[in-house]
């Protein structure tokens, strides 16, 4: 099933909503200056035009185009994204030095799968990568690594 029609309709709806939001901006600058509304309106109008084009013109999808969503497991992708969300929450709450080794092990555990995973290798790997990042960013480049809001 082609995604063009629903995408076209979605783009039109998004474009209209965007133009409505842009028109709420009320600021006067100086004579002849179109103000901050013009550019977003151009962008949203282009979206509406493209949406209309997708609804009207039939386009044959390019041969061999890979449909990631269809061929890949949605559940596996969602699980990986979930882990990334968890890591970002970890960095935000407990900081780099706690979140990183724990989540590195979690990523290793999940990606390696039951056949390849060896717990001590995962733990060593997690510790080594955390130490390497600390050395490169914290020590060598002297940049601030994420600190948590809890600790």
């Amino acid at each position: 099933m082609t995604t063009d029609k629903p995408l076209g309709a979605g783009l039109i709806a998004f474009g209209i909503a965007g133009i409505y939001l842009t028109l709420q901006i009320s600021v006067r600058t100086f004579n002849d200056d179109p103000g901050p509304q013009l550019f977003p309106i151009l962008g949203f109008s282009l979206l509406i035009l493209c949406g209309l084009g997708m609804l009207v013109v039939r386009h044959k999808p390019a041969g061999g185009a890979e449909d990631a969503g269809a061929t890949g497991g949605f559940g596996r992708g969602a699980a990986m994204l979930g882990l990334m969300v968890l890591y970002s929450v970890g960095l935000w709450q407990v900081g780099f030095y706690i979140a990183t080794p724990v989540m590195l092990y979690a990523f290793y555990h999940v990606i390696a799968g039951p056949r390849r995973r060896v717990w001590w290798r995962g733990a060593t790997y997690a510790a080594a990568v955390t130490a390497a990042v600390h050395f490169v960013f914290g020590t060598f480049l002297n940049t601030l690594l994420p600190t948590g809001s809890l600790f």
Binding site: T3, L7, L11, G18, L21, I25, V27, T29, N31, D32, D33, P34, G35, P36, L38, F39, P40, G43, L46, C50, G51, M54, V57, H59, P61, A62, A65, D67, A68, G69, G72, G73, F74, R76, G77, M80, L81, M84, V85, Y87, S88, L91, T100, M103, L104, F107, Y108, V110, I111, A112, G113, R117, Y125, V129, T130, L141, N142, L144, L145, P146
Partner: protein
């Protein structure tokens, strides 16, 4: 000539040469790490130059920069993650080549193209800086807007899923770039009261979200566990045949000129030139269908142009005192810290500084060539790392990379949001190229659109009536309309012929 020899003498002093070698190597490493770049290295090490002689300090900064621009292709080719925005287009064909088992060939093509781009552009910058700079002064906001618009149209029109998909992706880029303070008046748009959105979306989370995180989620979702084979054994020289170089002479020449010109335009730079050169290479190619699937022409185009922008962006910096991009702005700061005022009088007042700058870039480009030639057989070792070791480290580098630039945890949200957007766009067949290009160009486009409309009483008309601007806009229109018109024209032409053939 005496000034050149004197500068050369200073740079070849053992300590200075050692600094150049180490800085070039550091630049390559920083360029190759996603989220970092040679530009970040220049910014981080600028304070170190305070105590150095001006030429030596400048040599250090220029070496990191040159190394960083060339090193950015390593991540693009081997991992599909550009080290910096200047190597985004390199991923389009470099990474598919790696997946086809041609990692070393892709690296060889990129290394030689990088060297040619940097070396020749620096030579041209040395010779023609004052002349070319005078040309730039004649361009007004109308021409800048038209140039940016034309670049986006060309890239969008080449979308394999159709012009509407390409333009829609570009429009999403324009809309997202509208978030934050507007140019000229500083009005906060679409921020919904969130202070983190006031400055707009940062390019680093966008790049890492679209390329690093999206790639990992996709590969894991598809159960991709097979490490690509690497063709190291049978490689001679740079791994590229003489025929492949010969076939790409015009492609590289065109990409070089695009990179030089775009680099030299203030406010643009390598991040734009690689995309435009790639689009041009694809549109001029006899086999455009091979692009995006591992075509070496795409690697040549992208890497020649982004490195040609190095010399290009030095021209306005040296001749006019106007930085061509973010890194040259920092370099300009470095010059000022050492009491050197860039601009038209620099050639007269401080010729030794000008030539030290150019000569360092030349030396660094040769060093990059040598280092990468020896390294190109070792770099693919990264591909032998199993995904369960490689991908977790990339995720960590991605999150740390978006944090170090801004020190705000809000960038995690942006990183994840852009990864999700990238996955959705892939699913909906909206191409990433036009999206990123319009996102990068949008601030410049808007600024020049508004300036152009306020500079005269004629409103929007000068955009169409000024010769260069009008020509570029016409080219943009043709590129958008031609995918609809050309098949009809071809159909009409081939119609009677095919009938004739049928009757004979």
């Amino acid at each position: 000539m005496q000034d050149i020899l004197a500068s050369f003498g200073t740079l070849l002093a053992p300590m200075t040469l050692l600094i150049i070698v180490l800085s070039t190597a550091l630049g390559i490493v920083l360029g190759a790490i996603p989220g970092l770049s040679g530009g970040l290295g220049v910014a981080l090490l600028l304070p170190l130059t305070f105590g150095m002689q001006a030429e030596v300090g400048l040599a250090m900064l220029v070496s990191i920069w040159v190394g960083g621009v060339s090193g950015a292709m390593i991540g693009s080719i081997l991992l599909g993650i550009p080290g910096s925005p200047s190597a985004i287009a390199t991923t389009f064909d470099g990474f598919p080549m790696t997946r086809n088992g041609q990692a070393v060939k892709a690296l060889g093509a990129a290394i030689t193209a990088s060297f040619i781009g940097t070396f020749l552009s620096i030579l041209i910058a040395m010779a023609l800086s004052p002349v070319i700079a005078r040309l730039a002064l004649r361009m007004g906001p109308w021409e800048y807007f038209a140039l940016g618009f034309c670049a986006i149209s060309l890239v969008a029109a080449l979308s394999r899923d159709g012009v509407f998909h390409g333009l829609a992706a570009a429009a999403i880029g324009l809309v997202l770039a509208s978030v934050g303070f507007a140019p000229i008046d500083g009005y906060p748009r679409f921020t919904f009261g969130n202070i983190y959105l006031s400055g707009g979306f940062d390019l680093i989370p966008l790049m890492l979200g679209f390329f690093a995180l999206k790639q990992i989620v996709q590969d894991y979702a598809q159960g991709q566990q097979q490490v690509p084979e690497v063709d190291v054994k049978d490689i001679r020289g740079f791994g590229v045949t003489l025929k492949e170089y010969r076939d790409n002479i015009w492609n590289m020449t065109r990409s070089f000129l695009i990179g030089l010109w775009i680099g030299f335009l203030p406010g643009m730079g390598a991040a734009l030139s690689n995309m435009v050169a790639y689009a041009q290479a694809k549109s001029a190619s006899h086999h455009p269908e091979k692009f995006g699937k591992g075509c070496i022409d795409g690697v040549f185009a992208s890497e020649t142009s982004n490195n040609a922008s190095v010399g290009g962006s030095l021209i306005p910096m040296v001749a006019l005192g106007i930085p061509g991009d973010g890194v040259t702005a920092i370099l300009l700061g470095g010059l000022m810290i050492h009491g050197v005022q860039a601009g038209p009088l620099l050639f007269n007042n401080n010729p030794e500084i000008v030539y030290a700058l150019f000569l360092t870039a030349l030396i660094a480009s040769v060093l990059v060539l040598v280092m990468q030639f020896w390294g190109m057989r070792l770099f693919p070792a990264i591909l032998k790392i199993p995904y369960h070791y490689l991908y977790p480290a990339i995720v960590v580098l991605g999150f740390v990379g978006v944090f170090v630039g801004s020190s705000t945890a809000f960038n995690y949200v942006l990183l994840l949001g852009f990864a999700l957007l990238g996955l959705s766009m892939e699913r909906l067949r909206l191409p990433i190229g036009p999206f990123i290009l319009s996102f990068i160009l949008a601030p410049m486009l808007e600024l020049n659109l508004r300036r152009g409309m306020t500079y005269t009483d004629e409103g929007i008309w000068p955009f169409f009536t000024r010769p260069i601007s009008g020509l570029l806009l016409a080219l943009a229109l043709i590129s958008i309309v031609s995918p609809f018109v050309m098949p009809r024209i071809r159909g009409k032409r081939s119609g009677p012929n095919s009938k004739d053939q049928a009757t004979h």
